[in-house]
């Protein structure tokens, strides 16, 4: 009876960092409400001073869905992803936190499977993986797949992280776990995502994975150049030595 009562009181704070996502933020919000009908959740938009009017769209969305469901917690300018999560968490009233990208590469339809997995296993962290059956990517060239696979094998061999997708940023965290881990992380960019999951693994947090599909950004393309590769290698060595 107590456990059921506890489960019914789970609330999910979904933190969405945005920068110039005027169209995507509306789409994401619509899809979240569509796929999470029976879930108690709130969306926290951390916008870093977008010049394209993203915040105006968020205010319009608040009129449609309610200011208690969509929180706009903006910042004056681009201040980085890690601090965006911390900023979002300060205003989160849920006991679970979801982090996801605003560009529709992370589809809200997978959130019920994250939640289900967490309830089934009691995990502290549920992370989405693109690299297992049931998951996948779309819009990646052969070169990108090769780099991704090579990077993954390297990181697996050196770090033994216990998850198949290290750089993914579609995750569900128990709020207390996220607060604990994020305070120890110092890197930036996607190495930050790696650092979070590796530190969580080292600390003994219970981590589960669910397959997700990742459709690359509809407009424009991600660039993966030499400097990203160097940054990645530095990140792996840093994690090897400090975790």
């Amino acid at each position: 009876m107590d456990e059921q009562h506890q489960k019914d009181k789970d609330k999910y704070s979904i933190i969405v960092p945005t920068y110039n996502e005027r169209l995507n933020i509306g789409l994401i919000v619509y899809l979240l409400f569509k796929h999470l009908r029976d879930v108690d959740f709130e969306i926290i938009v951390v916008d870093d001073g977008s010049p394209d009017g993203t915040q105006d769209v968020v205010k319009q969305l608040q009129k449609v869905y309610g200011e208690d469901r969509i929180l706009l917690r903006a910042r004056p300018r681009k201040l980085g992803l890690g601090t965006a999560y911390i900023h979002g968490m300060k205003h989160a009233s849920g006991n679970f936190v979801v982090i996801m990208d605003a560009d529709l590469s992370h589809h809200p339809k997978y959130l019920p499977s994250f939640i289900r997995k967490q309830k089934e296993t009691g995990a502290d962290i549920v992370t989405g993986t693109r690299y297992v059956k049931g998951g996948g990517v779309h819009g990646w060239t052969l070169m990108r797949k090769l780099t991704s696979r090579g990077a993954n094998v390297l990181a697996q061999t050196l770090l033994w992280p216990g998850v198949s997708d290290l750089t993914g940023s579609f995750r569900l965290y128990r709020k207390s776990a996220l607060e604990d881990i994020i305070s120890r992380c110092v890197t930036k960019g996607y190495v930050f995502q790696m650092e979070m999951i590796v530190r969580a693994s080292r600390k003994g947090y219970h981590i589960e994975e669910v397959p997700i599909t990742f459709v690359d950004r509809v407009y424009g393309s991600s660039k993966l150049g030499g400097s990203e590769i160097v940054q990645y290698l530095k990140g792996v060595v840093y994690l090897l030595v400090t975790t």
Binding site: L23, Y30, Q60, K145, T243
Partner: protein
């Protein structure tokens, strides 16, 4: 224990094993000296194999792109009716 300590301990254990094999000389000396090289090369080959296998089996989801486009259309319709700006300009 830090991860790097685990790895160094493993390397030390393997090195000790190798030194032991050198002492015992059950295997001809020339082979034993080359064991570390064999080890590193096989590790490299295993890595390349894993990359190749992973690349061949890389899961893709072209149908998801289509579903996403449908979702976008549906969302735009709904939001436009309720006064949310869904233009891209």
């Amino acid at each position: 224990m830090k991860h790097i300590v685990k790895i160094l301990t493993m390397i030390m254990a393997i090195t000790a094993l190798w030194a032991g094999l050198l002492q015992v000389s059950m295997i001809p000396r020339s082979h034993t000296w080359l064991l570390p090289i064999y080890f590193v090369v096989s590790l490299g080959c295993y890595g390349l194999l894993m990359v190749g296998v992973g690349l061949m089996n890389f899961p893709t989801c072209p149908q998801e792109a289509l579903l996403l486009q449908k979702d976008i259309v549906e969302a735009k319709e709904y939001l436009m009716q309720r006064g949310v700006n869904v233009s891209t300009i």
